[in-house]
Symmetry: D2
Subunit: 308 residues, 4 copies
């Protein structure tokens, strides 16, 4: 199997202030499909083109932010191996029982040095209509309900010990660095990490506080559909942070906006496919404006300061 | 002839501080084609898909801004008629001799109540390669040199007496109102005027000073090529004002940026085709943020204040 | 008024074999909006972005084809003038009473030398929601129901006396030639005629029989939405003739397909804006393959032979 | 490392009849960059966004077709392991010396049961300008020279023993089946295989003769750039086979055309990202028309019969 170890982002569990308002937003505006609710009052969503039962879990809480971000690993033995390796590396690790999240097997949970809770799992139910597996049409009606991303794509988390988390993700979990922002002291301020051939499956940025969520990103199929996403944000009075524009970093196209609880999300298209033998790309502070917003060449203040 | 009277925007003559720097910008970055220079040191440009000899004239000067904006009228007799009608209406009118601009016939010049100089002309040389008229390819190499708009599309001018200029353009020149912004006192603050089936061939906005240029707009073929335009702006460190985004007003897509002299220009795609029997669209101050920037729903301060 | 005389294509009345099947097709697959039915059993449709009450009328009949194609003229006096001019020119002319079509004023009907019935009208009810005229969103839900063209755009009719019809449209109705196909004897085989700044509002092709319909064309906003149109055709097993591809002629992008009665229709995007002073473009038989299908460079047999 | 084993398609070595004509075609029309020639007269090319020294090798020969298709594997030890595994499986294997291809390390070559020569390599020089690794622009001038794909993407090979090759690729090389065409006897007629999260890195189709090339595919960034590719084919009189259209299979968008030697190539955009835990998609003969050409719903004869 050429895609092994950590195979992809699995889901984000985020905290929302008013769960019905949040669920309505993620369903009607972002256009995800609600696939379940549990006894804790959590609401589960998947994107129309995903097969996993869910990619997003909303947990009712009194402050916004992220509970945990999770990755799917290849299989149970991979999960067990990562548990051993994480412990050996010295990360705090625990097992979460199967079924704690709907349709999901056991999870191996660890704390990253940036203060984030990261889960690994090997099993999650698929939710895919049989007609998608036999002479399927290229898309379905769900592809035009709300913004309708094809999948949850990646996350950017802000926290304290970037170097430690970079070390853990690359040395233990097999991620590799694809791009990074270097400050004037030669420190890595933001690191973009891939477990696949995507420019990022997760990214971390240096911040004064641990465990912060910068954004969860959802994949849009084209720049034209990103305009449509922006139109839908405008129609629904969604507060927009930045974009539509091109990122210099990752070459992707973006709109950043906030959900009703103040959690930033991104609709994202484009980008490129880096491979394991590719040297990572360095961004320096003098050109970080273009790194963030290639058109406007501007390092928006909110990007650096507003997190949940 | 179903398209009569004023048939289209013809050209803008704008003032630039450093003519060589400006010429290099309009040629290499915006991607217009230099088609001539005259004894006054003026430099002439056309877009790759235009047939007229020029759509833009740069005049060396010690302050930026617009000298005049010109429209092509159907023929000489139409030109003569407009001269009579403008005089009868009471506008200050003069004739400019043929040849004052390269390859251009006589112009009828008048002063609009907003303090702008507007020229009408019936004759301007065509500049089109014979192979464009016989089994032509859909585009040429020039379509990918710099931003490469297909044409100069319209202008937005800021000035004092909006009502007077609206009256003159609709009653004398046969333009019609397609959209307008109404302030809280029921006054028209910005008016969008069409001499064709475009949402605007010219627009005027209320301002404390007369005769100001807000922007000259250049037509881009698609939203995807507008992203390309933004990339080229980023590559060339062009100062960008707003966008890429959707305008609510005119439904067009936009990037506003400034040329090296500080004159704002727009790259513009999309929009719709209104017809003479269509009622105009009203925008009110409470929703002007979406009127300007539908995605960000924001009335950018620069839009209201920065002109040349 | 700069747009005078004939201002735009108004509607096509076509014959369909099974009116319910046809109505379902034009509503659910092409995505037009049904706006009325009359005592004759005719069904009326408009495109989501049009304001006129209808652009298409389906008439139940026992053979497919076109009853008449109609243009909107500026006003009643223009209509009267065209009636006089058509009679003076020698065309067979009659008046059709107001109300013969729903919400439509009197029509001046004439027979074109190619054997087609053409109607002119000055009045047709508008059908536009008030919210489209005050701080409107760029599009509505109807823009994503079925293929959802923004408007009926033009037609291509096949008939006998091309030269006569060309003469009538240019000399009497004020259309102008924008492009033409010239056969090896120097005859014009296909003529593209504009009453606006579109590359064609109507076109005529030489054919052995009079009065034939080649296709009615519907405007799609972008090449990406044309792919979506093709996907919807595939999903609905619509028989497709040609495309998606680029036309060399008019530079537009196209998919040709057939409705359930065998009437060809086109979904069309792109193209360019010619002006009255522009010389028309000549296509010759040696390059007509690229004229029709620029990518495949192929003169598809069906294009020349299949009509209703 | 989450991407292990076979990491990506490396290159195709194809046979061309007139090497200078072929080199001109691949450079000027397809827009690849020539990166070297060797003593055997072979010409090497890379795509503008690739880092490897080459993705295509043209070998002068007296008949068209493919010499070998090669994959990059993670590292030397992976290469050695595959050599052992291939031998154990019973495939004919040989070592090709480092340097036999410019800048390329040792290759492990084996014969697939469909009659194709497949090479694996762990080392190939990178060819990437330093400015692409430090604050890079999203694209370069080379991205607009000719069709300018971003990379060589995959190949479709026609041959005899599909089941054997499927077994070898999945059991030995770690590829997985993402989609397949099943004939009416329950046989797999065409198999799409991935070593990544792409819908196909290689595909095989059942054919009466072994070792045939159906096409080498090049990745285009968007459907709009695929139209541009088609325009460039039209401008250059490139013989086009099918498209532009949507594939049902892999959901990608395509134009198939032939190089001057008659080797088919594809320009390809879109598609989706399947993961290792996803069940493969089955296509059946009754709907294969949509599988190949979703818009036209047509199983083009050339697709089944024309190979080199």
């Amino acid at each position: 199997m050429a895609l092994t170890g950590v195979t992809r982002p699995g889901h984000a569990q985020i905290r929302v202030l008013d769960v019905e308002k949040a669920a309505a937003f993620y369903s009607d505006v972002l256009g995800l499909i609600e696939t379940g609710r549990d006894k804790q009052g959590r609401v589960y969503f998947k994107a129309w083109d995903e097969r996993d039962l869910f990619c997003l879990v909303l947990r009712p809480a009194d402050r916004a932010g992220i509970d945990h971000f999770a990755f799917r690993v290849l299989d149970r033995s991979t999960l067990d191996k990562f548990e051993r390796d994480l412990k050996a590396w010295g990360a705090p690790v625990e097992r979460i029982a199967a079924g704690e999240l709907l349709g999901t097997g056991e999870r191996v949970r660890f704390q990253a040095p940036t203060g984030h809770t990261i889960d690994l799992f090997a099993e999650k139910d698929h939710n895919v209509a049989p007609e998608r597996l036999h002479n399927p049409s290229p898309w379905t009606r769900d592809a035009e309900r709300g913004i309708a991303p094809i999948r949850m794509d990646h996350t950017l988390l802000y926290g304290t010990d970037i170097d430690g988390t970079l070390k853990l993700f690359t040395e233990v979990l097999g991620f590799r660095l694809t791009e990074w922002v270097e400050d004037d002291n030669g420190q890595k301020n933001v690191v973009f990490l891939s477990c696949s051939a995507k420019a990022h499956d997760i990214a971390f940025g240096r911040f004064a506080e641990p465990g912060k969520l910068h954004h969860v990103s959802y994949r849009i199929e084209s720049w034209e559909k990103l305009l449509r996403a922006g139109d839908i944000m405008g129609m629904n009075h969604v507060p927009v942070d930045i974009g539509p524009t091109r990122h210099g970093i990752t070459r992707g196209n973006t709109i950043y906006a906030w959900d009703p609880s103040g959690n930033r999300f991104e609709t994202f298209s484009g980008s490129y496919d880096p491979y394991p033998d590719w040297a990572p790309i360095k961004w320096t502070m003098d050109d970080l404006g273009r790194g963030l917003d290639y058109t406007q060449q501007k390092l928006h203040e909110t990007f650096l300061t507003v997190v949940t």
